[in-house]
Amino acid sequence: MSWLNAIIQGILTGGFYALFACGLSLLFGVMGIINLAHGDLAVIAGYVAVLLIPETHVPVVWSFVVVVPIFAVGGYILQRTLLQASLDRDPFTTLLVTFGLSVVAENALLEAFSSNGQSLNIGSLIAHSFNPTTSISLSYFSLTVLGVAVVVLGALQLFLSRSGTGRLIRAVADDKEAAQLVGVNYRHIFGIAAAIAFATVALAGIASGMYTEFAPTSGPANLLFAFESVVIGGIGSLWGTLVGGIVLGVAQQIGAQINPAYQVLAGHIVFLAVLAVRPRGLFGLRTSS
């Protein structure tokens, strides 16, 4: 029964990973940006919540209502300034700039908040769970996060495939020069995509801050799991990202079931195996032609 529990816990963890990963996938899919500061953005979101919540009198559970819009606006601004300026040079510069952002963010947070862990305390809400049997425990919080991940990915998919702005995002992702020729200011579209990506990573950072601790140095681990989810699922496929997150989560929980020391290792092994067998990922259908 504990194996079944491991799989269930893995699926729930997969929701977190998918939420972390969808912004990473979007930035890469639309602009070709590999955002090495992605994990740190999630951590910053946590600290922004820690700072702002006492001021705004918003219950901690609802802190995302405050932080997510801030991140969306911040994402748009950062894209239109620093990231666009680096994209105008070349992809390698962009990689270096996001790496630099990651280093700066980590050290600024260390300077401001020390290396002590923080968390967003939502009290007893975190502890409630549903126990169908004695050995299986479904945390309501994790179920909610998985639900949020599914809703966010579904809404994003719908937005991209049905709305006019979504159509422009796909057009710009296909060929930004041709998009300019039909009158699209691709820089603005890039900004919108970055706003969405930042909003989702803020949501992920806050969810993670409620569930567990975060510290200034938590960013790279977030980034790694998000990156593995995207690659396992297949770049450019949003549902693939969800599946990728779940596959990674299940692999880690099963690894932990074998031996607690193998948790992270098992995830890496599955990631490498997918990379070796299906380099495009499980759902990476888009060819580069």
Partner: protein, 244 residues
């Protein structure tokens, strides 16, 4: 604006690709209702000229003026809004978007005018049944038609066509060129670039020949002899050729 007045004016345009001077002091004026053809061999600077008019390249010097408004420093999207649409070389459709989505994106900043998605479906009736297909699944000729449709729905005042015939079967090229009179009748002025001199002189009201970035000949097709065109196209006068 009455027929016959100057719509697009290019004045002493020079464009560099790094060190290379691709277009040298080229001037042209396209009048309302004209079909103006730029001819020239590979590498003569024809495509660079069109892409600079559309705003994709920065001009080193010179001006691009549309109906009195100086657009030399405008971004491509602003030029589209002003009425310059380019059908680029190689079609450049959005491959992952459907035919209909390509046309809808084309209408994103459309000016008022006779063309919309429905009108394009009238021009190319086969598109209706294939509108849900991805653009990447179409043949080259079909893609060219969608690319023209995508530019038309913006209701441009000047339509720039870059090497329509490239990589297409002659019969397909004929069919696409047969469309031009209809476009002109709808009030669209056409500036096209073509390697195929025969094709260009058949459809154009005005021809200008480029060689290594400079204008070597301009005039009305009926007034130009084959010899004149050949000399301008290849850069050898007939006398010189005979001496060798």
């Amino acid at each position: 604006m009455s027929a016959g007045s100057v719509l697009l004016e290019v004045d002493g345009l020079t464009v560099h690709h790094g060190q290379l001077c691709a277009v040298r002091e080229v001037s042209l004026s396209v009048r309302v209702g004209e079909t103006y053809a730029i001819i020239g061999a590979n590498g003569a600077g024809k495509s660079t000229l069109l892409r600079t008019i559309a705003g994709l390249h920065r001009a080193t010097s010179g001006r691009v003026v549309l109906d009195g408004a100086d657009l030399t420093h405008a971004r491509p999207d602003a030029r589209l809004a002003a009425g310059i649409a380019l059908v680029p070389e190689g079609r450049r459709l959005f491959p992952s978007l459907t035919v209909e989505e390509n046309l809808q994106v084309g209408a994103y900043r459309a000016r008022k005018g006779p063309f919309d998605v429905a009108r394009v479906y009238e021009l190319f009736d086969w598109m209706v049944s294939r509108r849900r297909q991805r653009a990447s699944q179409l043949s080259g000729g079909e893609q060219q038609a969608v690319a023209i449709g995508r530019a038309l729905v913006a209701n441009p005042r000047v339509l720039l066509l870059d090497e329509l015939s490239l990589g297409l079967a002659p019969v397909v090229v004929q069919r696409i060129y047969a469309l031009l009179p209809e476009l002109t009748a709808s009030g669209v002025t056409v500036l096209l670039v073509e390697q195929d001199v025969g094709q260009a002189t058949r459809v154009a009201t005005h021809v200008q020949c480029l060689l290594e970035g400079s204008t070597t000949l301009m005039g009305v097709p009926g007034d130009l002899t084959r010899t004149q065109i050949e000399a301008a196209y290849f850069g050898v006068s007939h006398d010189e050729g005979a001496e060798r």
